[in-house]
Amino acid sequence: MAEKTPQLLDEVTIRFAGDSGDGMQLTGTQFTNTAAFLGNDLSTFPDYPAEIRAPQGTTNGVSGFQIHFGSVEINTPGDFCDVLVAMNAAALKVNLHGLLKGGSIIVNLDGFNDKNLKLAGYTANPLRDGSLSNYQVFEVDITKLTTIALQEMNLSSKLVDRSKNFFALGMMYWMYNLPLETTLHWINEKFGNKPDIRDANTRVLKAGWNYSETTEIFKVRYHVAPAKLAPGRYRNITGNQAAAWGLMTAAKKAKLDLFLGSYPITPASEILHELSLHKNFGVKTFQAEDEIAGITSAIGASFAGALGSTTTSGPGLALKTEALGLAVMVELPLVVVDVQRGGPSTGLPTKTEQADLLQAVYGRNGEAPIPVIAAATPSDCFNAVFESARIAIKYMTPVICLSDGYLGNGSEPWLIPKLENLPDIAPAFRTNPEGFLPYSRDEVTLARPWAIPGTPGLEHRIGGLEKKNLDGNIDYSPKNHDLMTHLRANKIAGIVNDIPLAEIEGDQSGDVLVVGWGSTYGAIRTAVQRHRLKGHSVSHLHLRYIHPMQKNVGELLSQFKTILVPELNLGQLIKILRSTYLIPAIGYNKIMGLPFQSEEIENKIDEILQGNKQ
């Protein structure tokens, strides 16, 4: 008999893994929404193959979804999982290394038949050869139980097969004492007009729950209490959704139409998808014929007075390079969101990496400075994009906002902001023809006036050729080019006066300062917290503003014996830190298409602390 009172846990990590057609992303998302709705803090990590349907049953086709949830602060999707749900042999093979010793494996027995074992590359059945003796294995014939649950419904075998993920979900809901309501509600909404699918999924979800309740297969049941999050209203959000909403909110604040020119690219396409949904907000989305048309149409829209934006990933950013230079030259607002992926070239489209930093900061012909802002967590994509838009409009400049695949697809609870608490954005449209000069500048920001077509008396010409200071006519003279180059550089450099100072988490001086940027935030934060609990002198500085960098960064760095810079690249931020602040920072680099585990950073800090002692 299972214990009536569930055992309390602070945090749990579960990984759902199966074939890419098994619906693992959906299963993980449903579990996430339920846990979030009950007030857990959480972080998720979808890990799926680039192929839409890789050969069934092979390791290439394995799709995984990891969720780390708890009653305590959760910063990462978890280094290792406590529970692995493996829908077939390949899923087990690919994911076993990520399971804690002593962890639980729930296998779908049908996925371990001879054919599946062979496809996964097993020569012996791992369920029978004792290789899993370090784990608790629960064998459930999910396929068969699903079929039985749906027996009377006379459904096609394909539909029956597609429902089996709900059986696994039902079991996990039982195991973690979670209610079915959130998912039942979703099924009703999603399949309301497809009663067959609605009823099948409902039935199978309940069957999975009931099976766990009655068969006593699981000896223990767990409960994770709600987390102590700051008061307010929350929802779960992915990075890409947050980026889309950040753009819409910025446009709303600025009272501008939002225009998105974009070409589909993994892992950024969801931003285009999300924005395309919101016609009733007047959002204009334009699926362009290529990356270049995406950005140039956005520049055209900005010229005409909209908030122009474009979304992409590394290869697309490379294609947009020349147009970025144009945007610098014509000094129009433009928000470019780069959801980074593994590179170079086509690289690893569905995997994460932070290797576009130098491309974003330096990757253009000529002196073409562009502000670069990086998001730290999925929900922070909202803030980072909003801030990018604020700067773009106020300083009449393109801004690159860096996200990555891990943030874009990952999710976490988000304290929904109140519109009135966000900074105002006031585009300075020029309307007065008196004394109008297209390249005159605001004394403080150095921004030029935004004079949009349709405004009487402000007819003027802009373009990519060097222009004369003030009147903007073509001018190749040496002194003018020198002046204009400096003006453009000073305008961007001056943004430091308009952004908050960088803040350290932990002590303001000490042995080790871990400096990160972007999606490594959670892993670094966790690693640093663990060291601090042990009494070690370790602090964390996470940079949001990559270019220009906040005024006090040099001062902050100078207060520590060792600067450690973990990055998912071969060392890009570190190059800037070394050359700007002349410090001997130490890099810690990982280029595996995967995020850092907190433990990896924790160990690296250990290594440094040990070294410092000697």
Binding site: K279, D290, A293, T296, A304, A306, G308, A323, H460
Partner: protein, 350 residues
């Protein structure tokens, strides 16, 4: 954006606000094309017809790419955007979609429009965004000082093809029609009246208008089109397409084009064997016919067709975009950001 535009106070104090003359369209910039360049005439004709279009000057935008022709916006005292190579069409698309009530013109060349910018050109045409494209075709790269272009005749000897070019040229009209253009026309820099009339037709057309303008490059490809513009010969080498009229040409108007199956051929009206009634009658609403006429272009035994090949109606992209926005505003109500952010499964922590 429209809301913002209407907020702008009318500056003019005269009773006829925004009326302007051709002279008002001349910018303060010195025109720097080579002497004898066909671009001068095109600029002059454009400045001549603009005041008659009924569009205020501040609602007109000229967008260009890179090349000799792309300097055009600097000489036109309207709003102007000199873009990057090949991208005028996509910049113009963004301008028009953001502010559909602007009159947007693209100035491009055979290299800018069909080589580096070929992709954007065909997609603009199929989308039918209401933009007027002036493609200055001089069959050469001028600004880079004389390499062959995508419209240069095969075998062209240039700096980059000292032994003759190997590529077969694009026929711009066929390309535009193949990309589902709703308006495609050809005109000549030296035929001022015809050029003006075609520019006006393009301005009136709702949807993308594509105009190929034969333009003489006096330095690198001088005389490329003299056979179609010289008084002595042009009557015999050019056939003007006019809607509802037979394809008649020749100094004495004694020759014409008829269809033999789908193949155009010249017939003589002199010997009494054929009359005007035997000639092909142009119909600019006929898509199939437009392809046949466009295909006459590189047949050396046929006169060069000039005029409006096709002018048909199809909804514009921006109108459809606006229609979707209005439809969903009506259906779902004007979007409210706070509601969006608070939508879906939310929970409150006290």
């Amino acid at each position: 954006m429209s809301a913002l535009i209407t907020d702008i106070p009318v500056q003019s104090t005269s009773s006829t606000p925004f009326k302007f003359s051709s002279k008002d369209l001349q910018s303060d910039q010195e025109v720097r094309w080579c002497p004898g360049c066909g671009d001068y005439s095109i600029l002059a004709q454009a400045q001549r017809i603009m005041p008659d279009l009924g569009i205020p000057k501040h609602k007109i935008v000229f967008v260009s790419g890179i090349g000799c022709s792309s300097r055009f916006p600097y000489y036109m005292n309207t709003y102007g955007f000199h873009g990057i190579h090949g991208r005028a069409t996509s910049i113009a698309s963004g301008v028009k979609l953001a502010q559909p009530d602007l009159s947007v013109w693209v100035v491009t060349g055979d290299g800018d429009g069909m080589s580096i910018g070929g992709n954007h050109l065909i997609h603009l045409l199929r989308r039918n965004i209401d933009v007027n494209i002036l493609l200055f075709n001089n069959q050469i790269y001028g600004l880079t000082k004389g390499q062959y272009s995508p419209t240069s005749e095969k075998g062209k000897v240039t700096k980059s093809t000292p032994h003759g070019s190997l590529d077969y040229p694009f026929n711009p009209i066929s390309l535009a029609l193949g990309a589902s253009a709703t308006f495609a026309a050809r005109t000549l820099d030296r035929d001022q009246k015809h050029l003006q009339s075609i520019l006006k037709r393009a301005a009136e057309h709702v949807g993308t208008s594509f105009i190929e303008i034969y333009q003489n490059c006096s330095v690198f490809n001088d005389g490329a089109f003299f056979q179609f513009t010289d008084k002595e010969v042009k009557d015999d080498t050019v056939v003007f397409l006019e809607h509802g009229k037979p394809l008649l040409f020749g100094k004495e108007k004694d020759k014409g084009i008829r269809l033999n199956g789908f193949t155009p051929e010249i017939i003589s009206l002199k010997d009494g064997k054929f009359s005007v009634n035997d000639l092909l009658v142009h119909n600019e609403k006929d898509t199939t016919l437009s392809f046949i006429l466009a295909d006459m272009t590189y047949h050396s035994n046929l006169p060069r067709p000039v005029g409006v090949f096709l002018s048909i109606e199809r909804p514009t992209y921006e109108a459809e975009m606006q229609r979707q926005i209005e439809f969903y505003k009506e259906k779902q109500g004007e979007g409210i950001i706070e509601e969006l952010l608070n939508s879906g499964d939310t929970w409150t922590i006290q």
